[in-house]
Symmetry: C2
Subunit: 301 residues, 2 copies
């Protein structure tokens, strides 16, 4: 079987793939499967026999869905970066919520006043939006810290939290929220001004999913109205071209990082993602059941 | 029974105490017990009938031990701020270890380069020094995040960690350490240059216990020698007079906060501490077994 790869993968991953596939860098007519970060309509057109696309990233929102024929199976890579993103989500939340960023900056300036009250995680309502591989881990850590965790998702999932499929119920009077929702048709622009306004006056909203889940103008509005409301995010609408969202980074109630929670912040994590993606496409080739198969209807418009 | 209180306590706590005690602000000869943050030799001399001292803070290192008669029982308040300090310890660790502080500062400056590698907690060796109320909770969270936790203490304690009573074994090749040791005769100046030098080149050392557990000059030495070694601390030798340790705060590999992890950073936590201290002194008065009774030999010189 022939596997098309259109980006650089680690040597050990390529060697593993070669045990199962003839690996090629050419989008040729006899290609059966593809391992990609993204794929263009032009590439797709050159591979009429293609039956399986393995995407190396957890998210699948960036694919040209309308150009992928219905008989092609698409698998994502959820879980491969979940440990890393979970750690980063907790880091972002606690750095802001526990006022570490503010006190560290004050101390550096020689201001030793203890004039910022530090809220507690234990006993506070914290919403976790999305309880997939990342959200469920984040929720478990917050639960261990004694938070009253409300988990929001489409479908119920059991765990040490109170489940709801109402975004309003999850966010109402919450002290903090961590968003780990995937971006798809049902989540695009889901979180609006009115939802954020339901949270407590001094709430911290953390985003490690996708920026596009948040209504950009609604977020700007609440950040301008409520100096005590904090938005802490690793993901931006501009994706890699961060300058386009720079109006956020300079706001005093925003903490920004440049999309580094997962594979873009660590070669080690990136390699782990590649290994898991390679395993999944080999599972498919050997007749097994691949993981993270996408529901097309979540993405097709 | 008469209870001497020498600092301001919340009204509800005072009302609760008055159900059991005659509460006084005078160090009178007929006082049976004292509820204090600290007590002076002069106060002690005025209360010859004193049999019990309840300290409102978790640490007991600041008491004038040589002036406390052997027949007086001293109880601390460990656990009362443990949730808060645990949250802060994890916040300090992850803010530094996951490079949130560095990336947030870069983004604010308009530097969007992803040129700082982010290490993982999962799979890394992390030492927890002290596995009391705080250390054991910190260790549980790190274990849930997938860290290989090494717990160091005098006496073994069971949990999701590898226990050792060798400080060298705990710190050798560790990626990070969280110190939650109490300060007493056995821990004063315990952690020296040679111990810190056993850790990985880019290790992060977090302190939420007492500064005096660390050899100050040894720490300064390693911070000057290894720019990649980070010291992240809420506690300082100067205690409340932070300016005396300002040489640390301006170092690029130090993150400092002004002793705010527990009761000094949150009125809510302080009140909780007062309630627990009041309950303990009432337990003693009613003939029960008070918690956190100090071992004098740990403190007497």
């Amino acid at each position: 079987m022939k596997l098309y790869v259109n980006f650089q993968i680690p040597k050990d991953v390529e060697e593993a793939l070669e045990k199962v596939f003839a690996v090629t860098r050419d989008a040729a007519p006899d290609v059966d499967a593809a391992l990609v970060v993204n794929i263009s309509p032009e590439e797709l057109e050159k591979m009429p026999r293609l039956r399986f696309i393995q995407v190396a990233t957890a998210g699948l929102d960036h694919l040209p869905w309308s150009h992928i024929p219905p008989h092609v199976t698409v698998a994502g890579n959820a879980g491969s970066n979940a440990d890393a993103v979970t750690e980063f989500a907790i880091a972002l939340l606690l750095a802001a919520y526990k006022k570490v960023l503010k006190y560290a900056e004050k101390m550096r300036r020689g201001d030793y006043n203890r004039d910022i009250a530090i809220p507690q995680v234990a006993g506070s309502k914290i919403a976790v939006l999305g309880v997939g591989e990342i959200g469920s881990r984040v929720a478990r850590v917050l639960s261990l810290l004694g938070a009253e965790v409300w988990a929001f998702a489409r479908s119920p999932r059991e765990g040490p939290w109170r489940f709801t499929n109402s975004l309003e119920d999850a966010l109402r009077r919450a002290s903090a929220a961590v968003c780990a929702l995937p971006l798809n048709k049902t989540t695009a622009n889901l979180v609006k001004y009115d939802h954020l306004a339901l949270m407590r006056e001094e709430a911290v909203f953390v985003n490690v999913g996708r920026a596009e889940v948040i209504d950009r103008s609604g977020l700007l509005k609440i950040l301008r109205e409520r100096p005590s409301f904090m938005y802490v995010s690793d993901v931006w609408w501009s994706r890699g071209d961060f300058s386009k969202d720079s109006e956020f980074y300079s706001m005093p109630n925003v903490v920004a990082t440049p999309w580094v929670a997962g594979g873009y912040g660590s070669v080690e994590v990136w390699h782990k993602m590649m290994r898991q993606a390679a395993e999944n496409v080999m599972t498919w080739a050997l007749g097994g059941q691949p993981r993270n198969v996408a529901k097309r209807e979540d993405y097709e418009s």
